[in-house]
C-alpha cells in the first residue's frame, strides 16, 4: 500500500533558526515525485518543494531544502533561517502510483517563536 508517514505532529523553532520536518513513505514505484505542501492558517495549501526520485541531488528552494534518502524512503524538509511566516501545517505527499492522486501524510504543525 502507498503510505506517507509524518511522525512529528507538532514542532517548534526559534526565529532565524533551522528546523527539520520528517517524512517517510512507501511505494512500489521505481520513478516518482515527492512533495512538501504548506497550509498557513488561512487554509490555502501551496507547494513548497518537489523532488524527483531519479535525481540524486536534493532539491532546494531558497530557504527550503530536502534530504532525500531513496533507499530509506525518507524525505525530510529543512527550513533555514526560519521566519514568522513559516508557521503553518506542513504536509508531505506522494503520488499514489497509477491512481492519479496525491497521498498526504497527517501533517506537522510548525510554530515559529519570535
Amino acid at each position: 500500500a502507498q503510505t506517507v508517514t509524518q511522525s512529528q505532529p507538532e514542532m517548534s523553532v526559534q526565529e532565524a533558526e533551522t528546523v527539520t520536518l520528517s517524512c517517510t513513505y512507501d511505494t512500489s514505484e521505481s520513478d516518482y515525485y515527492l512533495f512538501w505542501y504548506k497550509q498557513p492558517p488561512s487554509r490555502q495549501m501551496i507547494l513548497v518543494i518537489r523532488q524527483e526520485a531519479y535525481k540524486q541531488q536534493n532539491a532546494t528552494e531558497n530557504r527550503f531544502s530536502v534530504n532525500f534518502q531513496k533507499a530509506a524512503k525518507s524525505f525530510s524538509l529543512k527550513i533555514s533561517d526560519s521566519q514568522l511566516g513559516d508557521a503553518a501545517m506542513y504536509f508531505c505527499a506522494h503520488p499514489g502510483g497509477s491512481q492519479g492522486n496525491l497521498i498526504f501524510g497527517k501533517g506537522t504543525k510548525l510554530s515559529v517563536k519570535p
Binding site: 515525485y33 495549501m45 504536509f91 492519479g100 498526504f104 497527517k106
Partner: protein
C-alpha cells in the same frame, strides 16, 4: 489569473441533510480533486475528475459523490450527513491528468459543520 475557487466557504447542516459543494479550477486545468481534511486526520482523498469523467475515488461511502461539468468545474455532493462528515473540504486542480509530476493548486476550502 484566478486561482481555484470554492463555495460556500462555511456552512452548517444537521444530520441527515444533504450538501453540495462547488469548485472552479484554474483556467486550463482539466483535473479536479476533492479531499476531506478532518481534524487530526490529514488530507483524505475523496474523488478525482478529469475531462468530465470520474477517474478514481477514495475509501468513502457512496453517499459521497460528485460530477465535473463541461467547463471543468465540479460539485461534491454528500447525502445523509453524519456528524463525522464535519471537516474542511478542499478542492484542487491540475493541468495534467494522472498526476505524477504535476503540482496541485488548492482552493481555500469549504468548512462543513454537521450538528
Amino acid at each position: 489569473e484566478a486561482g481555484v475557487t470554492q463555495s460556500p466557504t462555511h456552512l452548517i447542516k444537521t444530520r441527515g441533510q444533504q450538501v453540495t459543494l462547488r469548485c472552479s479550477p484554474i483556467s486550463g486545468h482539466t483535473s479536479v480533486y476533492w479531499y476531506q481534511q478532518a481534524l487530526g486526520l490529514g488530507l483524505q482523498f475523496l474523488l478525482w475528475y478529469d475531462e468530465g469523467e470520474e477517474r478514481n475515488r477514495g475509501n468513502f461511502p457512496p453517499r459521497f459523490s460528485g460530477r465535473q461539468f463541461p467547463n471543468y468545474s465540479s460539485e461534491l455532493n454528500v447525502n445523509a450527513l453524519e456528524l463525522e462528515d464535519s471537516a474542511l473540504y478542499l478542492c484542487a486542480s491540475s493541468r495534467h491528468t494522472g498526476l505524477v509530476t504535476g503540482e496541485l493548486f488548492f482552493g481555500e476550502g469549504s468548512r462543513l459543520t454537521v450538528l
